[in-house]
Amino acid sequence: MDAEPGLSEQYRMASPWPLFIALGVPIAELGILFGLFPLSVGGLLLFGGSVAGMATESSYARTPWRAMVVVAIPLAALGLGFIYTSINLPDRGFAIIAAAVILVAGGLAGSLFAQDTEEPTY
């Protein structure tokens, strides 16, 4: 244990991202299960954006923009899997890929236009 109990409280003890990562997952799952395109895309965006935000915050990434692109890669792979493997659920696959594309677009736009890295992700 700490010699001074106050010490551990000094690093940043709050983060807005976990809540939204956790919210994005069920929204996306609902959308994908019931074939609701907007929910799938929106949920994945919420999830992906928040993951990128959190990665930046905990300094795994320097800016959220590149992180968004990185998150998009496994999503795109998953979407392709839904379309081309025996899972064979193209509608869902397209929704996932759409989310990935938007994330990439957001990442590109961000790295081109947002110079101020202090800005929040969205």
Binding site: M1, D2, E4, P5, G6, L7, S8, E9, R12, M13, A14, S15, P16, W17, P18, L19, F20, I21, A22, L23, V25, P26, I27, E29, L30, L33, F34, L36, F37, P38, L39, V41, G42, L45, L46, G53, M54, E57, S58, L89, E118, P120, T121, Y122
Partner: protein
């Protein structure tokens, strides 16, 4: 119509995303203005301070502090306990007379399903995470969990999980509550047949369960990483406390069990929605049972190991001596962890699986009874000739031991194939596992909640109310579940809303017991909430007088230091007392029966 719906959803989703973005922008902004100035220096206290700021609720939504997250888990678990408890009160009242009187049979089935799932997944696992989140870092001398943000994600997955699991009860069009029972046996749960189990309510419940599993797995990874890598220098494996040992083992079990449940649930969802036939073909029903119980039996030990840790922790403190055979308890915990994966088909003795396999599962089930029995002997020996102080936490721990003996012995009987073939699917099984789950796990949870009450509230509970809570719970538990064991001997099958008149007396006794339990829990909630808000402040870092017997431990040491920092810091302290109702600063060591 179709298109309009999609459009509406898109607009809604868009609004949500924009709102989230705006909110985050604001929060980030706010934080750069006053970088965690909130509490200044001492842990949990800033939560109270922040109540005066508009950011009070934001603190709870954004916290990654293990202590806050522990409190969130606790609040969540107790809420789920209330919901699940009220559900079963309705069921027990329905069972007061043999016919269908108060609620319909289908509604009974829905409540039955939801009660089980709520208690196991939304109360049991999370409430244990409340203890482990709050205590493990303190006990092992870590600053926080290894991955504080993952920790927060794991918690925040749970509220959506609860909403999905209960969605069937909400007034949604075309959504009915699941009636699959907590075991979700196929083909019923695959939506096959004439019933209404193909409806979306079941899908929502499966999704919710899946989420709760993801949450538990993330938490488990975090605990394993924390206990392996974040221990303080002094805390070697030989010095690790018993509660952390049980959490470590439990996390290992979760890591192997829950992902399997997750996969099985996804397969079931595919069967239900996308026309696969994992569980509907030849042998599909048995396949589900194998997958489910390969998760399901470890799950019962996931639920019982940390409570055993709590009891092993509390009993010595109020017996005035060390835990007898500490290392026996540690090694037998590990043994339970391994063996619990080798017994799953003792839930399937009556399915007609190969008798040779049945025999093997019986063998391992008998072997696993030993480590549990060893612990029981250790607890009793610890108390033997000890300087016993019958405080409320101690009472609940002793109650744990008493009830666990009945629950365990009935379990060993069920593990014997010939006995099980007679008693399977009767109330005997219900009695067995409730003795363990309510009588032991529930009791240990209460024991822990009372024992550490000063630690997380800075206050002391009202001991007379607490004693009333204990006795009502003890009597209620034994009345209810012993009646069920007798019902099982009489041949009363489980999971029915109605029954033959010959069972009426025992059912009525069980219902009376359940109402006693209800009364006890009402007292508990009152005591808990009122004492938290207005109870006498604890200013002593050693509210249980553990130093006297040399049994003082790290979490109280942390608390003691926190207290002293608080006193040193006058400014914050005045904020604090302003919130109290002029409560007299007073340490309450509960009563002591040392003769």
């Amino acid at each position: 119509m179709e298109v309009n719906g999609q459009l509406a959803l898109t607009v809604l989703m868009g609004i949500l995303l924009v709102a989230v973005a705006a909110w985050i922008a604001r929060v980030e902004n706010w934080r750069s203005y006053s970088p965690i100035a909130g509490g200044g220096g001492y842990g949990q206290q800033d939560s109270y301070v922040s109540e005066e700021k508009p950011s009070g609720i934001i603190r709870w939504l954004t916290t990654v502090d293990h202590k806050d997250i522990g409190i969130l888990y606790g609040a969540y678990g107790l809420t789920a306990f209330t919901v699940g408890g009220l559900m079963v009160v309705l069921m027990r009242v329905e069972l007061f007379d043999p016919g269908m009187s108060l609620i319909s049979n289908t509604f009974y089935n829905s409540l039955l399903t939801s009660h089980g799932i709520t208690m196991l997944f939304l109360f049991g696992t999370p409430i244990l995470a409340a203890f482990s989140n709050y205590l493990v870092p303190l006990l092992i001398g870590a600053d926080d969990m290894a991955f504080p943000r993952i920790n927060a994600i794991a918690f925040w997955l749970l509220p959506p999980a609860a909403l999905l699991i209960w969605a069937g009860f909400f007034p949604l069009p075309d959504v009915l509550p699941a009636q699959t029972a907590w075991t979700m046996y196929t083909p019923l749960s695959a939506g096959v047949g004439a019933g209404n189990q193909a409806n979306a309510g079941v899908d929502l419940m499966l999704l919710g369960l899946h989420l709760s599993g993801v949450s538990a797995t993330m938490g488990a990874i975090n605990f394993i990483a924390t206990i392996f890598t974040e221990r303080g220098d002094e805390v070697s494996w030989a010095n690790l406390d018993i509660f952390s040992w049980t959490i470590l083992t439990q996390s290992g079990l979760i890591l192997f069990a829950f992902p399997l449940l997750g996969s099985a649930l996804v397969m079931l969802l595919f069967d239900r929605n996308f026309g696969t036939t994992f569980f509907s073909g030849e042998g599909g029903a048995i396949l589900w049972q194998h997958l489910f119980w390969f998760f399901g039996h470890p799950e019962v030990y996931i639920l019982v190991l940390p409570p055993m840790g709590i009891v092993s922790y509390v009993i010595p403190r109020f017996s005035g001596r060390r835990l007898f055979g500490f290392k026996f308890v540690v090694y037998s915990t590990l043994a339970i962890g391994v063996l619990s994966f080798g017994v799953w088909a003792h839930h399937m003795f009556a399915t007609g699986i190969d008798p040779r396999l049945r025999a093997s599962f019986m063998a391992v089930s008998l072997a696993i009874a030993i480590p549990s029995a060893v612990k029981t002997f250790n607890w009793i020996t610890t108390m033997w000739n000890g300087r016993i102080r019958l405080t409320t936490p101690m009472l609940f721990s002793v109650g744990f031991v008493a009830n666990f003996i009945i629950g365990g012995v009935t379990g060993v009987f069920l593990a014997s194939i010939p006995v099980d073939l007679v008693l399977h699917d009767t109330y005997y099984v219900v009695g067995h596992f409730h003795y363990v789950i309510m009588g032991a796990i529930g009791f240990a949870v209460f024991s822990g909640l009372y024992y550490w009450f000063p630690l997380y509230t800075d206050r002391m509970y009202q001991k007379t109310l607490a004693k009333a809570h204990f006795w009502l719970t003890m009597v209620g538990t034994n009345l209810t579940f012993f009646a069920m064991i007798l019902l099982g001997y009489g041949g009363m099958p489980r999971r029915y809303a109605t029954y033959l008149p010959q069972f009426a007396t025992m059912h009525q006794l069980a219902t009376v017991g359940a109402l006693l339990l209800l009364a006890g829990q009402v007292i508990f909630v009152w005591n808990f909430v009122q004492s938290w808000l207005e109870g006498p402040k604890v200013e002593d870092g050693d509210p249980w007088n553990l130093r006297e017997s040399g049994l003082y431990t790290a979490e109280w040491d942390w608390y003691d230091k926190k207290q002293q920092t608080a006193i040193a810091d006058g400014g914050e302290e005045s904020d604090e007392t302003a919130l109290t109702d002029g409560g007299q600063p007073e340490g309450d060591a509960d009563d002591r029966d040392d003769a």
